[in-house]
């Protein structure tokens, strides 16, 4: 059940170049959250920025919710400027979680940049379910990698400063070429191009693949119809990322 709460910031740190971790305390959100869901946060207290900003739930620890985010504009800059004890207006948990209960043995997690955000939470839940996990993490350069609270991590950087020299999806391909993975399922999050490439891999190798999308959201709760993503089948042309996503099976949607 979604909640709107004013919560205290309990932790804030820059963990990689321009990548911040922020935690707030909210037992109720912790209790009802699942991996892949997000929260929608009011970054300022006046009307600048006007709209809330959506962030994946990155981890839950005790009563705390952890976010992992990049500073890209005004909202995230304000969020990065929060201090312990500041209060935060949060709406969540929102959206549909990853289908982590599906029938598979190995979770292949593929993250580009700060797309890693939802995966520490997913990892902890898959671990509890006794799944095997292999994680592929890519970034433009080494300083932007944030490989925390993940299992069996394989790194890639576009500039080769760390790990595999190339995209994270190329790294995944070469891994799948070399390893036999038992009953796999893909979980991906990251930039659009990466998600497209990942969708192709999933299709070629016939692996079920779930993606977490980012969309431009005004409300995050199904009020504005502002976050469509094109569907591949069914009667309706679009699905709403905020309430029918942000996680989708890669077969169900067309990445724009």
């Amino acid at each position: 059940m979604m909640l709107q709460r004013i919560v205290p910031v309990t932790f804030r740190e820059e963990i990689a170049e321009n990548v911040f971790v922020l935690r707030f305390e909210c037992n109720e959100i912790v209790c009802s959250a699942s991996p892949g869901q997000f929260v929608n946060i009011r970054c300022g207290d006046a009307c600048l920025p006007l709209l809330r900003r959506p962030f994946s739930i990155s981890r839950v620890l005790g009563d705390e919710v952890e976010l992992l985010f990049n500073v890209v504009g005004q909202g995230t800059r304000m969020l990065a400027g929060k201090r312990v004890g500041d209060s935060l207006d949060v709406l969540g948990p929102l959206g549909l979680p990853f289908n982590f209960g599906a029938d598979f043995k190995t979770g292949l997690i593929v993250a580009g940049g700060v797309g890693v955000a939802p995966f520490p939470f997913l990892t902890s839940v898959l671990r509890k379910k006794g799944k095997r996990i292999v994680t592929f993490l890519g970034a433009r350069t080494a300083s932007q990698l944030a490989p925390t609270h993940l299992d069996d991590i394989h790194l890639a950087t576009d500039d080769g400063t760390k790990g595999y020299h190339g995209t994270v999806v190329d790294l995944l391909r070469s891994y799948l070429d070399q390893h036999r993975v038992e009953s796999p399922r893909l979980f991906g999050c990251g930039p659009t191009n990466m998600l497209k490439a990942l969708t192709n891999v999933a299709q070629e190798m016939n692996i079920e693949c779930e993606l977490s999308l980012e969309g431009d959201m005004a409300c995050g709760i199904g009020l504005c119809q502002g976050c469509p993503v094109e569907r591949t089948k069914g009667e309706r042309k679009y699905a709403l990322v905020c309430v029918e996503g942000p996680t989708f099976n890669s077969k169900d949607i067309l990445i724009p």
Binding site: Q4, R52, M217, C219, L223, P228, R236, V243, P256
Partner: protein, 314 residues
């Protein structure tokens, strides 16, 4: 006890704050977050005869103190609405206004007539900011005679409140208000969004898929207030004031310039409880100021400047 309610054509609204069309879904999306029964009313997302998919992404762009939208009237269509959404709305203890959008005058009539046969709808709000497909795609709402024609055609079809929602993208909005008053409308909603646009300078493309979109939010509040004020000088039917209302103070401004009630739009996206908070704020304001009725604020602007002077400000 402060009186909060008001009525239009005999239909009572329990207080003077409604949720604006297109910003509150069909009332069921946020039932976890807010007791919608504490709103004066709910205007549904615009309903058309057939379901509409809406425009391709990108549909939303944030601007300074405002936002642009290009939803494309995405809606479930009136049949699905009747079957899937109306049953829930009927369980609510608040006034339900069905907002109608259409691409021909006939479609307006058809949608309204079908809704007339249903239980649980208390009135209609007519969104005239729609392209007139049968006559070259020009917007109904910027053509005074078309706006009038829609009103004339709809009026005989219902005895319930008929509210025409005017677009601000015209030279003299009061002409439109007068025309629909004369044609039998019971109230006007003022304003719909303003035409706006934003460009991504990196890609050199418009940010919205449809190039332009509708601007809403606090940025437009001064414009909306001026439009409501202009309309209030020209008609006697109630005005539902809309545009950038975020707080109780904003709502009071609209009442003072002549709005009988207000609608809260964009604010719902930031705080789905905004409307309820504003309704409570209005009651508290009335209490603190010794008013018996929130309605005493309506048109209570103290202005000693002749209306004719107000155009000469630059």
């Amino acid at each position: 006890m402060v009186k909060e309610s008001f009525s239009i054509r005999g239909v009572e609204f329990k207080n003077r704050v409604l949720a604006a069309s297109g910003t509150f879904g069909y009332g069921d999306e946020v039932k976890d977050l807010v007791d919608v029964n504490r709103l004066g009313g709910i205007c549904t997302k615009s309903l058309s005869w057939k379901p509409r998919e809406g425009n391709p992404p990108r549909r939303i762009v944030e601007t300074p103190s405002g936002m642009l939208n290009s939803i494309g009237l995405a809606n479930v269509g009136v049949h699905h609405f009747i079957n899937e959404k109306l049953p829930y709305l009927r369980t609510l203890d608040t006034t339900i206004i069905a907002n109608i959008a259409a691409s021909s005058v006939q479609e307006y009539c058809d949608v309204l007539s079908l809704l007339e046969q249903q239980e649980g709808i208390h009135g209609y709000e007519i969104n005239v900011s729609c392209p007139n497909v049968t006559e070259g795609g020009l917007n109904f709402g910027t053509d005074c005679s078309k706006t009038e024609e829609i009103t004339v055609r709809l009026r005989p079809l219902t005895n319930k409140p008929l509210i025409i929602k005017l677009t601000p993208n015209v030279t003299h909005i009061s002409e439109f208000a007068r025309a629909v008053e004369d044609a039998g409308a019971d109230a006007v909603s003022v304003i719909n969004t303003l035409i706006g646009m934003a460009v991504d300078i990196r890609t050199k493309k418009p940010r919205l898929s449809t190039v332009t979109g509708g601007l809403s939010g606090p940025a437009i509040k001064p414009i909306a207030l001026a439009k409501v004020y202009e309309v209030a000088q020209s008609v006697h039917i109630p005005i539902l004031g809309i545009g950038g209302i975020m707080t109780t103070e904003d709502a009071i401004e609209f009442l003072l310039v002549g709005a009988t009630a207000v609608q809260v739009g964009t604010a719902n996206f930031i705080d789905p409880t905004a409307g309820v908070k504003i309704a409570e704020g209005l009651r508290a304001h009335a209490e603190q100021n010794g008013l018996q009725d929130v309605g005493q604020l309506v048109g209570a602007l103290e202005s000693h400047v002749a209306f004719s002077v107000i155009q000469s400000w630059l």
